[in-house]
């Protein structure tokens, strides 16, 4: 099967480790290995965070893992499946000194390389006394783990290159921002030299990892340690080739291939009057065209395609008419550091994203925090405010170093607004700054696992395109609960989010042939719901409840009202069998086959 059934478990307090046979441990503990844990990603990892006590320190446990599909076509899995998942108690998702669950993910070749070390992932516990790299060397006959001293101030790219020079091609590292205590610090997931722009960013994994005094986790494996598919059937192998052709040239991935997220969303949100600008207060910015890839191309720019070792190649790298190459541009980062901060200059936006990537900061959260700060200053009659390009770049440096006003901003928009005022325009949910879509059109943000994240509950566009439903709580409840399975599976199986239309319908066949397990669509959907429910339990243990399933004041416009949200909440809770406080109940666990976890009910 395409999972090894082992993880590296490293105890940093005692400087000891073991290769834990987690499948055997699950069998002994529960009498079986659940489909959810085998599919992997957050389905495996979240259970590791269930505890009797609330989490008061987000740097006590950190899980890096993969999905059953994570690998390369040569390993027998479909293309576009290279994901590495990071699970942690999220520094941004704090309530009364307790931390809810968080996760982040990235593509690239690191994920397959982790599995080439003969493990499905790594569980780190405790803290080391000084900044180190946890180096897993599985290139020889025996697997060994060594701690090496690393400079906490080095940039993400310097750390990637240093690991690579030592023979560790795969690495996950925290930039300097995590060590400075930036709550929205990211980690960077890489495989090759100069490969430094695959951020697993949302929620603050960089701060969680740095708090353990771990600068990097690095991997050196060999291909023969990659776990082989259960089936050697020639017909299945041929079928995989047809799937790969569909991923490479079919309609299910065409929009990502052709435009990436940047151009595709610009061509959708701008004509719809739904492009967030100036801290989400303006959804129809007249200068939006200046950052439109089509406009840039008409004016002599070129935009090349790259990707995470997959045929979709969603990355877009712009070059100006003089041939100068800019940093990688994704929709979310461009909008949130661009129009949302009142900035329409591609050079500034590109440089801003680059600063975030090198220091290890979530560019989306950074855009949200600076946009809020600009509007806060505007209200106070102070500067800097919207459109100040130089100030934005300076603020990013100050945030990364926690200097000057950057110190407060590095706490995230919720805490910064609680200290400085203007919480009504802090565009966040559960501490996480919003994605680049209008808040009014996504009630799902209130129920999304990470907070105001568009992929952890994929309802970010339904409100814009279904005018017949948006005013109805029944419609919203169905959309929200209906989005849970796909949203969760995409964070479990190892496949890129952009492959979902092609691969999710084929999961029963893939699970059968790659894991040797018979699982129908209902069983897979149940596994996905289980992941959501376990996450909710962890949040409940840490004090999160119905009051946190909320939206910022600015979200309440057009059809979205506080009453609509409250009505929707009741219906969502009813469907998921939560109680009125939004907490998981015995009935929830019974319905989703999680009775064995009932001792963790708060």
């Amino acid at each position: 099967m395409t999972i090894s059934g082992e993880v590296l478990k490293y105890d940093l307090d005692n400087e000891s480790y073991e290769f834990l046979n987690w499948m055997e441990e699950d069998r002994q503990r529960y009498g079986e290995v659940s489909l959810r844990r085998m599919i992997g990603g957050i389905g495996f990892a979240f259970e590791e965070f269930l505890a009797d006590q609330p989490c008061t320190d987000p740097s006590r446990k950190f899980v890096v893992n993969t999905g059953f599909l994570t690998g390369l076509p040569r390993d027998g899995v479909p293309s576009g499946c290279t994901r590495t998942y990071i699970s942690f108690n999220a520094p941004l998702k704090e309530k009364n000194g307790r931390y809810g669950i968080g996760y982040a993910a990235a593509g690239g070749l690191c994920g397959p390389h982790i599995k080439s070390c003969g493990v499905d992932g790594v569980i780190l516990e405790g803290k080391f006394k000084s900044p180190v790299g946890v180096m897993l060397d599985a290139s020889g006959k025996d697997r060994e783990v060594e701690l090496i001293d690393l400079d906490p101030e080095s940039t993400t790219i310097e750390t990637v290159n240093l690991c690579h020079d030592k023979g560790f091609k795969g690495s996950i590292n925290s930039g300097a921002a995590g060590f400075h205590g930036v709550r929205f610090a990211s980690v960077h997931v890489s495989y090759m030299p100069d490969d430094h722009v695959r951020a697993a960013a949302r929620g603050g994994p960089g701060m969680a990892l740095a708090g353990m005094n771990v600068k990097a986790i690095a991997f050196s494996g060999t291909r023969d340690r990659y776990p082989a598919p259960s089936s050697d059937d020639a017909g299945f192998k041929e079928w995989i080739k047809t799937i790969n052709r569909e991923l490479a040239s079919g309609s299910g991935t065409e929009k990502y291939k052709r435009y990436g997220t940047w151009g595709g969303n610009w061509a959708f949100l701008v004509p719809l009057g739904a492009l967030p600008a100036e801290n989400f207060r303006n959804l129809n910015p007249e200068d939006a065209y200046k950052l439109d890839p089509e406009y840039l191309k008409e004016n002599g720019w070129s935009i090349s395609r790259k990707g995470c070792a997959c045929p979709i190649m969603c990355w877009k790298i712009p070059k100006d008419p003089s041939g100068k190459q800019l940093w990688k541009m994704d929709y979310e980062n461009v909008d949130l550091l661009g129009p949302n901060c009142g900035i329409y200059d591609p050079y500034t936006v590109s440089r801003a994203i680059q600063i975030c990537d090198l220091y290890g900061i979530d560019a989306m959260s950074a855009g949200g925090v600076i946009a809020w700060y600009f509007e806060h200053n505007e209200r106070q009659g102070k500067k800097p405010t919207f459109g100040d390009k130089e100030a934005q770049l300076e603020l990013l440096e100050k945030i990364a170093k926690r200097e000057g006003e950057g110190k407060i901003l590095s706490e995230g928009v919720r805490k910064a607004s609680e200290k400085l005022g203007d919480t009504d325009i802090a565009m966040q949910v559960k501490g996480l700054e919003g994605a680049g879509y209008p808040f009014w059109s996504n009630l799902g943000y209130a129920f999304a696992l990470r907070g105001a994240c568009h992929t952890s509950l994929g309802t970010y566009s339904v409100g814009l395109t279904n005018p017949e439903g948006v005013a109805s709580s029944e419609w919203w409840a169905d959309q929200i609960v209906g989005a849970i399975p796909t949203s969760m599976i995409c964070q479990m199986n190892g496949a890129c989010y952009f492959t979902r239309k092609v691969l999710i319908p084929e999961l029963p066949k893939l699970i059968d042939n790659l894991l040797g397990v018979k699982a129908d669509e209902d069983a897979i959907e149940r596994s996905a719901f289980q992941s959501y429910i376990i996450a909710r339990m962890i949040d409940n243990i840490n004090g999160f409840d119905s009051g946190d399933d909320n939206l910022p004041e600015r979200a309440f416009r057009r059809t979205t009202t506080p009453e609509l949200l409250e009505d929707t909440k009741s219906l969502v809770y009813e469907q998921l069998m939560f109680n009125d406080e939004g907490k998981v109940t015995e009935e929830t666990l019974d319905r989703y086959g999680l009775d064995h976890l009932s001792r963790f009910l708060p």
């Binding site: 309609s251 065409e254 929009k255 990502y256 052709r258 435009y259 990436g260 997220t261 595709g264 969303n265 061509a267 959708f268 949100l269 004509p271 719809l272 009057g273 089509e294 929709y331 979310e332 994605a435 680049g436 879509y437 568009h454 992929t455 970010y460 566009s461 814009l464 395109t465 279904n466 005018p467 017949e468 989010y497 952009f498």
Partner: protein, 87 residues
Amino acid sequence: MKVELYGILRSIAGTKEHHSRATSVQDLLDELTDEYGPKMAKYLHERDPIESLTIVRNDRVLTKTEKRRGKVGNDDTIKLLSPIGGG
């Protein structure tokens, strides 16, 4: 009637704007298929365009019922949007 094309639809048509005398959304989609050839036909017929395309008439998003049965006229401005691609 002025029809603004966005995203993949614009790439396939090779133009930002299309002028139409269609009287319904379905007629308009048929017209696009005839005008812009097999690639447009393939794109529109591989999915249910009424379900997948967002259609904006005079700055208002049409409901599915309006897309299936609604009339359009010469004075309208129509925007045809390919599906969103976030992530």
